[in-house]
């Protein structure tokens, strides 16, 4: 069996599972966040079970709406806080301790290898970075999981990406994500499938890169993305999780619907052109494209390693006067670490605006949204029309390295030059 099949089998009391089978599994943790949380608790209450299945494993996070930009959002947040409080939830990451939910779930040890966690936001696939099965669900499923500690799943078909070679300087996990997007197409060729990443180039990735890779599997239509836990995973989780966990890996003879091999040595910085995520090209093909907004943050690329890359490129230099550069760390912990490392002052000196952690401009409903005529160079995860605000804005997606290097010039450049 593959790692995902094993996780689904072990958490549903079976010896084995087969793709296509529908199973109810135990859920280790359930995440919900500000803008859907009140609805989730309302649905949960309607089930009439009283308490949630485990007050330490229903994780509540304020991320899409904080700090509130409008009276409407402020009111929603108040209602959300009242709902969280009424259910006596042990882990509530509200403004002041906030972060993007998926970052919080991994960083604070609320997802563990060999376990299944669900969240009411599509990028819950991120949890696969620690060898968990992370799944996005809607509020009904989350409400049922909160009440019963269970969720139903269809066992997905298994697909493996075996990645070899050596990462070139200035090339990041995001480039691989976008490369796979271009290779497999955005619209659904991997619908419902597991994407397992393995191979020496994956082993070489730190947790930030692993999170980026698993995060964007939802945008490939996949059910989950996963990387088998190893020493990197243990070193990452040990400070926040004292217990033992299952170091599950795929069997050598596990069966896959398809295995794709990629040699990372040949991969350079990669860009997705506006409107369609799979309109992916090597950076060379868009060099010289002018833009007026730069954005680094989100559950895809708002981590310390991403900020370090931006700071390294911008150190001692100035962002082009025609570019507004907004950087938003993915969590309060990352913000603190970035301050300690000196990155934030480097960024401020270079002319970057740094905002308090949130989903920020990514979903187009919070701070830093795009207006008519804006051309945005973003390290986020989606670039369909209107994603970051105005339908009359264009969004290029790429890695933090490309955003930073390009922001110095006001046009897209190849960071290797």
């Amino acid at each position: 069996m593959t790692i995902t099949e094993k996780i689904m089998a072990y958490n549903s009391g079976r010896d084995k599972v087969t793709p296509g089978e529908l199973v109810w599994t135990d859920v280790f943790s359930v995440m919900t966040m500000d803008y859907l949380g009140k609805e989730t608790f309302k649905m949960f209450d309607s089930l009439g079970t009283g308490d949630v299945f485990d007050k330490s494993r229903v994780i509540c996070v304020s991320d899409h709406l904080v700090p509130p930009p409008t009276p409407q959002f402020a009111t929603m947040l108040n209602e959300w806080r009242a709902a969280v409080k009424a259910h006596d939830i042990q882990y509530f990451y509200d403004l002041g301790r906030q972060g993007i939910a998926h970052q919080i779930m991994v960083e604070q040890g609320h997802v563990l290898p060999g376990k299944i966690s669900v969240g009411t936001d599509s990028h819950a696939n991120t949890y696969g970075a620690v060898g968990a099965m992370g799944n996005a669900v809607a509020v009904s499923d989350a409400a049922v999981a909160m009440a019963t500690g269970k969720c139903w799943f269809r066992v997905p078909e298994q697909v493996k990406f075996y990645v070899t070679g050596t990462w070139q300087p200035w090339v990041m996990a995001k480039d691989l994500s976008l490369h796979i997007m271009g290779m497999m197409r955005w619209n659904g060729h991997l619908i419902y499938k597991t994407l397992e990443f393995a191979g020496p180039a994956i082993d070489a990735l730190g947790m930030a890169g692993r999170m980026t890779l698993c995060n964007m599997t939802v945008d490939l239509g996949a059910k989950n993305g996963i990387i088998a836990p190893d020493q990197t995973t243990i070193d990452f989780l040990r400070p926040v999780q004292k217990g033992n966990w299952d170091m599950i890996a795929s069997d050598a003879d596990a069966s896959y619907e398809a295995i794709y091999e990629i040699d990372i040595t040949n991969l350079g910085p990669t860009v997705s052109r506006p409107d369609k995520l799979d309109d992916v090209v090597p950076v060379e093909m868009v060099v010289g494209t002018k833009f007026n907004k730069a954005f680094v943050g989100t559950c895809t690329n708002g981590r310390l390693e991403d900020i370090a890359m931006v700071a390294k490129i911008l150190e001692g230099q100035q962002v082009h006067p025609d570019v507004n550069f907004l950087l938003v760390p993915a969590s309060t912990q990352i913000m603190k670490d970035a301050i300690k490392a000196g990155y934030i002052s480097t960024l401020l000196d270079a002319g970057v605006a740094v905002d308090t952690p949130s989903c920020s401009a990514c979903a187009g409903i919070h701070t830093g949204v795009a207006g008519d005529g804006d051309v945005v160079l973003s390290a986020g995860n989606r670039n369909m029309k209107g994603r970051m605000g105005s339908k009359n804005a264009a969004i290029y997606l790429t890695s933090p390295a490309v955003v930073a290097a390009s922001a110095l010039k006001g046009e897209i450049v190849d960071p290797r030059r």
Partner: protein, 177 residues
């Protein structure tokens, strides 16, 4: 059970974020409310209150990856139901909304190349037991994929929430596996 009615079709990708546009992502879940601006981003003419609903469709017929684009919000499904949609046919469905459809008991039926036998406005008839789809306007017909037993069971219970309520009442939640 046999369902009859008019179809809305699209050969293009029908994306979840266009079915429910950004300004309604934060709305409460309510079939009537969510239906008001359903499909507002798919076609600008539906960005008016009840514009899609008022055209009176019972079926949606689409191509590949219906309701894709990564939104998990169930407003897409409650909005369609509130607008009178009783069955959606497509070559394939995005997993997040396929899941929501199952949870609400709205049949999302896989039917290869179904888009080739239906135009918007055609009168269709679908037999939920035999899985036969007939186009009454042009006389064509096809067999669709059958519904999995679990999906039928959830639908028969009135959706996931009622399904679970019954299990809680019976004390059999622990037996779910």
């Amino acid at each position: 059970m046999i369902i009859r009615g008019k179809a809305w079709t699209s050969r293009e990708y029908v994306m979840s974020f266009d079915m429910v546009v950004q300004r309604f992502w934060t709305s409460p879940i309510d079939k009537t409310e969510n239906a008001k601006f359903i499909m507002a981003g798919v076609d600008a003419k539906y960005d008016q209150e009840n514009a899609f609903k008022d055209e009176g469709y019972t079926f949606i017929v689409a191509a590949h990856n219906f309701a894709g684009g990564g939104k998990s919000i169930e407003h897409c499904v409650t909005g369609l139901m509130g607008a009178g949609i009783q069955v959606v046919f497509a070559d394939s469905f995005a997993r997040l909304q396929f899941r929501n459809a199952i949870n609400y008991g709205l049949p999302f039926v896989t039917a290869k190349n179904v888009i080739d036998m239906v135009e918007t406005g055609d009168e269709l008839e679908y037999n939920l037991e035999t899985c036969e789809l007939k186009n009454l306007t042009n006389g064509q017909s096809m067999m669709t994929a059958p519904v999995a037993p679990f999906v039928a069971e959830v639908a028969a219970a009135g959706g996931l929430m009622d399904f679970i309520r019954q299990k809680i009442k019976d004390g059999t939640v622990g037996e779910l596996r």
